[in-house]
Amino acid sequence: MSKFKKKSDGGTPAISTASLPDIVFMLLFFFMVVTVMRDTSLKVQNVLPFADQVEKLDKKNLVMYIYAGKPSPRYQQKYGTEARVQLNDKYANINDIQQFIREEKQSKREELRDMLTTALKVDKETNMGLVSDIKQELRKAEALKINYTTKEGDAMLNLE
C-alpha cells in the first residue's frame, strides 16, 4: 500500500527558471552588438531594390548618405507624394547637394577626402529622373565614387 502513496505528495515540481536571465542576456548582447544606431531619422519611404553583385562598404566614416523617395506617410499631408531628396535630417532640394558634399568633405581629414563614397539609398519606386539629377549634381561636386545601396537578393525580385 505505502509503496504507491509516497509519490503523490508534492505535485509537479516547479521548473527552474534560474537560467532564464542567462538566455535573455545572451539575446540581449547579440542585439546590442549588431545594432547600429541610426544617426538620421528617415523622412522618406526607403524600400531598397535587390541586387546580388554587391560590394561591401567597409569604412563607415567615409560614406556620405543621400536618401530619396516618397515622403513617409505621416509627412505626405504636408509634402505630397512627389519623390524627394533627404540630406541629414531634412528634405532638401536637388541644388543643395553640392553644398552638402562640400561640407562633408570639409569635415574629413585632407588625405581621406578622395576616398569618400556617396551611398545612394533610393526607394525602388522612384523615377530615374530624380536619380539622374542627383548624379549630375554629384558630378558637379566631384564626388564621383558612388554606391547604389541595395539589399542582397535576386535582381528579378525588382520586377514584381
Binding site: 536571465p21 542576456f25 541610426r38 549630375q136 558612388i146
Partner: protein
C-alpha cells in the same frame, strides 16, 4: 547562532529587467544594409573635344523605357536573357591582327565586338523608369562582367575575381598579400575593363 549564512538575493526579477533591455534593442535595431553596386561617375567634361570614334559593332546598346521594358541592340529582350547576351557580346573576340583577343571564348561573330578592351556597353534610360528596374539591369550587366572576370581569374590564378576583390578590401589581409592581389586584380581588370557608359536620360 552568530554565524548566519548570507541571505540569497532574489534573482527572479533579473529576467524581467533583461527582457526590458532586450525589447528596447529589438525595437531600435535596424540592421543597416551597406552593401551595394559600386560605380564611378564620369567627370564633367567641359572641353569641346570630340570623343574618339567607336565602331558601331563595339557598342552594345541597352535601352530601358518608362515601363521597364528592355530594348537590346534593337530587339526586345527579357531581363533574364540580358546577362547571357552581354557575356556573348563582351567575349565575342571577333577582331583580327592587332585587335585579336587571345583569351576570348566567344563565337568571333564579325557583327559583334572586336575585343573586350574595345567593347562598350551603353545604358540609356527614360526619366520615368523605375529605379528598381534600373538597378536590376545594372546588376545583370555587372554580373556579366563578373562572370567573365571570374572565368579568367580561375584560369590564371585558380581563384574567383570577386573573392580576390573581397580579400583585397578586407582590412585583415596582410600587406604583402595585398600587393599580389592588387597586381592580379589589375591584370584581370585590364583583360575585361568595365566600360559601362550611361547616357543622360532623354527628356
Amino acid at each position: 547562532m552568530a554565524r548566519r549564512a548570507a541571505p540569497e538575493v532574489n534573482a527572479g526579477s533579473m529576467a524581467d529587467i533583461a527582457f526590458l533591455l532586450l525589447i528596447f534593442f529589438l525595437v531600435t535595431t535596424t540592421i543597416e544594409t551597406d552593401s551595394g553596386i559600386t560605380r564611378k561617375l564620369p567627370p564633367i567634361d567641359d572641353t569641346d573635344q570630340k570623343p574618339p570614334p567607336l565602331k558601331e559593332r563595339n557598342i552594345f546598346i541597352v535601352l530601358i523605357n518608362a515601363n521597364g521594358e528592355l530594348l537590346v541592340e534593337d530587339e526586345e529582350m527579357e531581363l533574364g536573357e540580358l546577362r547571357q547576351a552581354a557575356v556573348e557580346f563582351l567575349d565575342n573576340g571577333g577582331g583580327e591582327g592587332d585587335e585579336a583577343c587571345s583569351y576570348c571564348k566567344g563565337a568571333a561573330d564579325p557583327a559583334s565586338s572586336d575585343n573586350p578592351i574595345k567593347a562598350v556597353i551603353s545604358l540609356q534610360n527614360d526619366r520615368a523608369t523605375q529605379y528598381g528596374k534600373y538597378i536590376a539591369v545594372q546588376n545583370e550587366l555587372v554580373a556579366a562582367y563578373n562572370q567573365l572576370r571570374n572565368r579568367e581569374s580561375n584560369r590564371l590564378y585558380q581563384m574567383d575575381f570577386t573573392e580576390m576583390e573581397a580579400a583585397y578590401n578586407d582590412p585583415d589581409t596582410e600587406p604583402k598579400d595585398k600587393e599580389l592581389l592588387k597586381e592580379r586584380i589589375g591584370r584581370i581588370k585590364e583583360m575585361y575593363p568595365q566600360k559601362l557608359s550611361e547616357a543622360e536620360p532623354k527628356r
